[in-house]
Symmetry: C2
Subunit: 478 residues, 2 copies
């Protein structure tokens, strides 16, 4: 099946106008339809859904190494949701409430899960008995809901997050949970690298951590318009939820202890990042790992010799698919130019053209999504293509990383920082005081992303002038 | 990772007490946990979820041949849901309503989708323009909601149906849509056959069709307690929804026409059927196509020679997995007996035992889930196991089919029918009049499943005595 609507070729707004470009490319490439009649709710087109499937299967394969997938109910009784006071404070303004079943008012209103701690932990209380049950590492991929009052954006700020991967783990000790935080950071780093998305990892400031957590580590990437996008978070929950939900285990000495917990999540923002970072004025540019189709073959057929060329195309399709390269043949009746336009819009990494001349020389013309062309001999084609897909993937990551890191700059004054965050991220020395952190936000109009992992610095806090033991990143964020 | 809770070996209630057995086996085999604090909402344990994944991947592979997967929002504005008057009449008592976002009352209440016609068809109006856009065949696998007031049961009668596969198609003509109904029936027949679930296909009586449909075809199977379970439905929607939602296309002559539509659905009841029909007093019995694990290898280790046996087990695991047979090795420290108990409970089709004697004779001991034992030579093991898995799959279907068909009986009076439906299905002649159909239901306490496909019969209608052109099935249904 082809596209739902065969639109006339449309050109996109320049990517320099990022917001416009982003909204337009989602529609034109048929990723999301924004015309659903409720604000903040969007429709996954089949093509967009096929990207989602590819990306989430990748995520699943990384999680399944030592987590198990499961499913908890979407509706959470008010009585459970309100149990953890810090937690509910963080969500009370944005929870959707179900109050009626048919015409009957419900005795206890039900919340649409904004996140699932309060759905899952009453069960953990039942499931965890002894130290032999630990660690417990489960995850689910589900729809969650937020009554967003800010401006909504497809894949980025949604009222129905359709693809929330949330993991919830329980451990014997605080240190075990801390090790799990590091393991989760490792998995997420691997995942984003496979999507060719560069990232910075920050410890969020205390006033911006997950409601109920001991601390929060967050992954941010930098979008072309200079805004950072939070694409993943990992929380150390300590024993706070365990105390609220009475999740205890018997240790080796027979004593009852509270478990220590972590949770960590990724949403469809990972797809927003892929689209926003790699796309260009012709449409999407998908890294091979995120593209449902890696190679499209287009026959270049003139008046005669069509059958022979089509046979060659089919043969190439077969050998590439057999080698594990997701390959389609576009033998529709459209002109080659229209096909180029369409597959470029969909971001397919490689196009192979086969025409009479290629047939004669027993070769094919390879055109990368970035326009680089090369003639490749038919012999040994699968390994040549595989290698080049890996190169292309690596190049996309390299290009994106360079672009991101070139836009993160040391600033020594608040004025410098204010100007820097127009287009990127400012790095500032910080004394560690909350008052100074909040003043940085006030004075720059940005947000404190927190202390970046693996970066150190010196100098004086630009607010109070005291010697600063640490650095923080400040940016405009989505 | 192992089980969440290592319970002491428990024995199940006899399957003769089907309801008790069913509830108990879901918990003990860790398919669903029924202790979630809201009636009608259940938790998929990791093991249960792995069955779901296997079964729905099978369903996806059948659908993907000529449908595309997509995703539409879960929340439907009241204004859209109420547009189709017949449709809403069928659902108004069981729709959950979201009335508040945070503390703010919503301007337009939002329904949790009970099914997605009214979420999808406003988009079809935008997507369909010309006959070239037809047929359009999409599906999604989503959670849907019903405020059930009847007794709820895991996988069977739920307030959150977690796994509703719903397909929605649009066609140029009524006849095209009718052909699609037949195609859907073909896909579903294939699916249930692959799950070793026997079924009857009936045209539901007019008063029991899907709200808004021209007619409804339904798949029913027969559970061990004599109740039928509806496991799939296929609806011809004609142009009713197209007229309500203004879904039109331009035909080849340039004239605007309403599309003709179908929709069809399958829920996690398919898994209830697998469990209910095949299980036994030792637990689940999963057909190989529905089992996440097809073979479990258990080393029979005595005081010495353990390493050698374990090596042989690993080798067998490797060659079976390589041959595409999902195989695990249970090398935990439990006694073999405890392992047998556990894997039988989980319904794994085949167990392979390897002990010193097997090693010596270069063979393995194969034990089918139904107890049949056989020694197999190590040479050619993958093909021997593959073949036997297929045989086992076929035997389960044959046994279940025989059991079902032996419990469907011709009855010529209402008294006979009333007694027959204590344990199965009654087949009656029917004149076709609604009054007579309703009287059959009244007099027997059963439900008219409708006219079965491919069955004809004669005789007189047992209510009015007129010559009957057709037969109907009557049963107690879930």
């Amino acid at each position: 099946m082809g596209d739902i609507v065969d639109e006339e070729s449309k050109s996109l707004p320049s990517k320099e106008n990022f917001s416009e470009w982003y909204n337009e490319v989602l529609m034109t490439a048929q990723v999301m339809d924004v015309r659903y009649p409720v604000k903040g709710l969007y429709v996954w087109y089949p093509f967009g859904f096929s990207i989602r499937k590819k990306v989430y299967n990748l995520l699943r394969s990384l999680m399944d190494v030592d987590h198990q997938e499961c499913y908890f109910p979407m509706l959470i009784p008010k009585t459970e949701l309100l149990k953890e006071s810090e937690h509910i404070k963080g969500f009370e303004d944005e929870v959707y409430w179900v109050t009626h079943g048919g015409l009957t008012p419900l005795e206890i209103p039900l919340a649409l899960r904004p996140t699932s701690e309060t759905a899952i932990y009453p069960m953990y209380k039942l499931w965890i008995r002894s130290h032999a049950d630990l660690p417990l590492k489960l995850y689910q991929i589900v729809n969650t809901f937020r009554y967003e009052t800010k401006q909504t954006r497809p894949l980025i700020r949604l009222r129905e997050i359709t693809s929330f991967k949330e993991a919830h783990t329980a451990h014997a000790t605080w240190e075990d949970a801390e090790r799990q935080v590091q393991e989760a950071i490792g998995i997420y780093s691997d995942f984003f690298t496979k999507l060719a998305i560069p990232f910075i990892i920050c410890k969020r400031p205390d006033w911006d951590k997950f409601p109920g957590a001991d601390y929060t580590m967050a992954f941010d990437t930098l979008m072309p318009n200079g805004r950072t996008l939070q694409i993943g978070t990992v929380h150390h929950l300590g024993t706070r939820f365990a105390r609220t939900f009475e999740i205890m285990y018997e240790d080796a000495k027979g004593e009852r202890q509270y478990v220590n917990q972590t949770c960590y999540g990724i949403s469809e923002r990972c797809i927003a990042a892929v689209i926003g970072i790699h796309g260009d004025n012709k449409g999407l540019v998908l890294p091979p790992n995120a593209s449902p189709t890696q190679v499209v073959i287009i026959p270049i057929v003139f008046k005669s010799g069509g059958a022979e060329i089509l046979d060659a195309c089919k043969k190439v399709r077969a050998i590439l698919n057999e080698a594990g390269i997701a390959t389609v043949l576009d033998d529709s009746s459209e002109r080659p130019g229209a096909k180029y336009y369409k597959w470029e819009m969909k971001g397919v990494p490689f196009r192979i053209e086969i025409g009479p001349r290629d047939l004669k020389s027993n070769s094919v013309m390879l055109v990368r999504r970035d326009g680089v062309k090369e003639s490749l001999p038919m012999d040994g084609l699968p390994s040549a293509i595989s290698g080049r897909l890996m190169d292309f993937q690596a190049e996309l990551l390299k290009r994106a990383s360079e672009s991101m890191w070139s836009r993160i700059k040391d600033c020594s004054t608040l004025d410098e920082a204010r100007s820097q965050i127009e287009s990127g991220v400012a790095r500032l020395a910080w004394c560690g005081e909350k008052a100074c952190g909040l003043e940085m936000e006030n004075a720059t109009g940005g947000k404190l992303l927190g202390e970046p992992q693996g970066m150190t610095g010196g100098g004086a806090c630009p607010v109070c002038g005291k010697p600063a033991g640490r650095v923080v990143l400040v940016a405009r964020s989505y």
